[in-house]
């Protein structure tokens, strides 16, 4: 099928299947799935700037569905979500401007591909180290407290917790109380985390949940289930802004996004339901292969001239 806006031929079934897979991942991990969607669009010959913008548009729709589902499970900290949206929008605009500069310089595909590979690998390696360390220490702990079952076994621990506590102890005015997440933290820390996530959102595409979700857990100390739901809520706001920004720059093929989204709706609902059956560290460990898959696809497209 021909998509005139991005001037590409793509099988719509391929788009629906990609959307479905990303929907499941999004609902389960609270990520937009851009590390899969961007490379998957590149495989079909869509230029990076269109892949980035179109993916953002698709993420808006998918995150609305997943965030609505998470809200019914009580997994959304709205106060934190609104604060993070502010920082994300600033970062997303900087990222989008950098894409424009690279477009003018004529090397957008190469630069974004290399940055994507480095970022995806770094996240995967860090999360693998942290979740395995946490699970190992939990096993030791559970030998001492063998009675822990049910909800207690889903308690959220992190091997990175001492660093998180140090960050939370930084008393830089204004301090923000987040009763839903059970955290008190400086507004500047929230804005910085959101800005970095937003920058990668504008630069690499998607909602940058692959950076923001781990950051919320490890830097802000938000419980994993709440981080997933809040991240999705925040993605709705920031990805809407990103979509608008990219659309006026000519980087969005909304027809591709609409087709992908039809598959994502069902996938997102399955993913959300699945989060109820897993503990935080296990969700984080299961997250590890995803950025690696994204990196592998980017390497493949770089080596084979960007087409399957």
């Amino acid at each position: 099928m021909f998509f005139p806006i991005s001037n590409t031929h793509i099988n719509p079934i391929y788009l629906v299947v990609v959307g479905f897979v990303i929907g499941i991942l999004g609902g389960f991990f609270g990520v937009g799935g851009s590390f899969i969607a961007g490379p998957a669009l590149r495989l079909m010959g869509v230029d990076w700037n269109y892949a980035v913008g179109t993916d953002l548009a698709h993420i808006v729709g998918k995150s609305i569905v997943a965030a609505r589902q998470h809200r019914t499970l009580g997994n959304v900290d709205f106060k934190l979500g609104w604060f993070m949206a502010l920082g994300t929008i600033g970062g997303a605009e900087c990222g989008a401007q950098l894409i424009q500069a690279l477009k003018r310089a004529g090397n957008v595909n190469t630069v974004v591909s290399f940055v994507a590979i480095v970022v995806y690998f770094s996240i995967a390696v860090f999360m693998l180290w942290e979740s395995q360390k946490t699970l190992r220490s939990e096993k030791k702990g559970s030998r001492k407290q063998s009675a822990a079952k049910g909800a207690q076994s889903k308690e959220d621990h992190s091997a990175f917790h001492p660093v998180t506590q140090s960050i939370q102890r930084l008393k830089i005015w204004p301090m923000i109380e987040l009763p839903t997440s059970g955290v008190k933290i400086s507004l500047w820390t929230i804005l910085l985390v959101a800005f970095v996530g937003g920058f990668f959102s504008g630069f690499l595409g998607g909602g940058a949940g692959y950076i923001r979700m781990p950051s919320m857990v490890y830097v802000l100390g938000i419980p994993t289930h709440l981080a997933v739901g809040t991240d999705l809520f925040e993605i709705v706001i920031s990805a809407s802004y990103g979509t608008f920004s990219h659309a006026i720059k000519g980087n969005v093929d909304i027809l591709i996004a609409l087709v992908m989204h039809t598959g994502a709706v069902i996938g997102a609902q399955i993913g959300v339901v699945a989060t109820q059956y897993f503990a935080g560290p296990k969700i984080r460990l299961a997250f590890v292969p995803l950025p690696l898959i994204g990196a592998a696809i980017v390497i493949y497209t770089l080596m084979t001239g960007h087409k399957l």
């Binding site: 548009a57 729709g61 609305i64 006026i248 969005v252 909304i254 598959g263």
Partner: protein, 80 residues
């Protein structure tokens, strides 16, 4: 317990089948009816295109979410 799981799976498979038909019809309609108009809008009125794009994706999200939720509820009731 296994009976319950089988019922849920059957309901989900039917939901998926009905949803697939609805979606196939829907997106062919969207691509044929809106494709040309959106292409011209994108090339000539970028700001309007940006607003329309956001409204379309948000509207589709709410509509499809409502459809899947309704289908799931109806089928769960039917197979209970």
């Amino acid at each position: 317990m296994k009976k319950q799981e089988a019922k849920s799976l059957r309901a989900f498979a039917i939901e998926l089948a009905i949803y697939s038909v609805l979606v196939t019809v829907y997106f062919f309609l969207v691509l044929h009816l809106l494709g040309e108009w959106l292409y011209h809008l994108e090339s000539q009125h970028r700001y309007l295109y940006a607003v329309v794009a956001l409204l379309l994706i948000a509207g589709q999200a709410v509509a499809l979410d409502a459809v899947t939720t309704l289908l799931f509820r109806l089928l769960r009731g039917r197979w209970r």
